[in-house]
Subunit: 369 residues, 2 copies
Amino acid sequence: MSNQYIAKSRRLRSTIYSSRIENQGVTSYTIYNHMLLPAGFEGGLEETYEHLKNHVQVWDVAAERQIEIKGKDAYQLVQLMTCRDLSNAKDGKCYYCPIIDENGGMINDPVVLKFSDEKWWISIADSDVMLFAKGLAIGKKLEVSIFEPDVNIMAVQGPKAFNLLEKIFGKEILDLKFYNFKYFNFQSTQHLIARSGWSKQGGVEIYVENSKSGLELYDLLFEQGKEFNVKPGCPHLIERIEGALLSYGNDMDINDNPLECGLEKFVNLDTNIEFLGKDNLIKIKNSGIEKKLMGVKINLDKINLRSAINLTIDDKIIGEIRSAVFSPTFNKVIGIAMINKPYFTNKGNFDIFIDSKKYVGEICDIPFV
Amino acid sequence: MSNQYIAKSRRLRSTIYSSRIENQGVTSYTIYNHMLLPAGFEGGLEETYEHLKNHVQVWDVAAERQIEIKGKDAYQLVQLMTCRDLSNAKDGKCYYCPIIDENGGMINDPVVLKFSDEKWWISIADSDVMLFAKGLAIGKKLEVSIFEPDVNIMAVQGPKAFNLLEKIFGKEILDLKFYNFKYFNFQSTQHLIARSGWSKQGGVEIYVENSKSGLELYDLLFEQGKEFNVKPGCPHLIERIEGALLSYGNDMDINDNPLECGLEKFVNLDTNIEFLGKDNLIKIKNSGIEKKLMGVKINLDKINLRSAINLTIDDKIIGEIRSAVFSPTFNKVIGIAMINKPYFTNKGNFDIFIDSKKYVGEICDIPFV
């Protein structure tokens, strides 16, 4: 498979960290919310994976853009867009929320930050949620302002993340609970820090609003992190699939609903709250889903997946694999696949053809065990 | 400046042509509507430019996605989103339409295809217009269905485009007028062909709905095109800037309105039609715009622009350059810049600093002369 360079231009927005990571060995990019998101660093996939699992990394994830919803009707609009019950949401907390359309189709799966009833940030995956929110607000004449503030997140992830963070922010940072956020002082600038991040290795995301101070903090993290073997990094294909962290656009899209994506926990149908797609999701729940995101394991020692590939049993299509990688932990290829009824219940084996060669795999639950 | 590869995954959708162009020497990609859009081919920028201006190219522009608006209220919704008067739009014609929000900010600048009052395609630039349309339709309870049909455009562009097209479609294709579309027969499959394309060299765009037939057509274009020196290509940075074809996300975004973008021709304020942002645009028109897209010429023999760069006069910022390239025609760097009042009227010279070195440029009208 040939490799192509990414053609940079203003439309594919650089982040405040881009010039730094390009001096630190970034080798590939993806595009996320019209912005550069690093996808690989020198050393390669398995070396950076081992590093992430054992040390601490600083990630440029500025492409996780914020959509601010502000004003009298802010709660109403945010609730309208998600099937998760936010009526008891607390200030200073983060909520993973499927954003769905009138059919229940997935539009995004952001983390929502509640500042107050009248101010929310939607920390979005890769689709223009701002345009959906604007359309709804205009159509329903809601009193809100909707915009993308200039926030550039850097994540600090890995088992030594808090050793490093404590050196800079003091013991107070250790008390920050999972999916909570708070402002912390750094050289007389306040930075919003959330205990969150797109890995299972622990750490925080720093929502940088003051770029100058944020870049000083970025540099200090590398200086103070030497003793913890700090390196630049990015959301990691092996680690995220092993951890079954779903990726919007890869694992699911507008043709899938949250029940099919295994997100029942965040689909609150038994409440009085009003949200788009509710009636449809109730119907689907009652009649049962027709397909479901599952794990798969395949007897293969490498894969390079750029589109979905059909999975078959006796030449009959039973689903498609959407993300996959060779896992050092399982010593085979693992992946996320949308599996048709009844195969997501029966599980069992399937065939997959790659470059006209047949391989055998098995359907399994996620998280992987 | 270092180069990075693009990390492919399902989220950055491949097109039906991707495997072909990767065998035909594509060297770089950009991402457009969450899809791969070729950005460069073997031979480099100036060689492919000369080729486009003298021969014929076939482009994979499947990333120009279609949003279909269908149903009783389809016209109302399309008109609501654009400041261009579509009340007299004709079936079978294409319309370049700024899509704007309630403030008049640019959300997209698609070509809109009218099939009938109840069926339209919006051939979008790089933003999720589908989500905006869905939000509006839900909020206003419009009777429409809104979806992205599986259409994969290939463009045939260049001065010899019609020589090649005539060989395949016969003389009838020569009668197709600029910005008109019609279905043409190819091996008993109907293909929608529009006389349009993102170059000034002439040609068509083929809206492929039947992939199998479309790929046979793609291959035949190369076979039959040998005598015209056909090559694969893509929207071309030099050619499009020399032709002053604006690029949404590069030259303008939601912080700019169509009057500032020189699109007055498509802003129909003196009609009874209802569209978002109308009141605001009337106010802006009456008080006069504060900034305007202009051309610039700079005494430089190369540039690699990936973000906007400020333009100054005596250290005062007077605007920013957003797209730029070395032009073989003008033998200097030319670009598209957003220039503040009163400098877009006064024109004159400015300074620009690149890698801490000062260069001199001048503001000019577009199209460039």
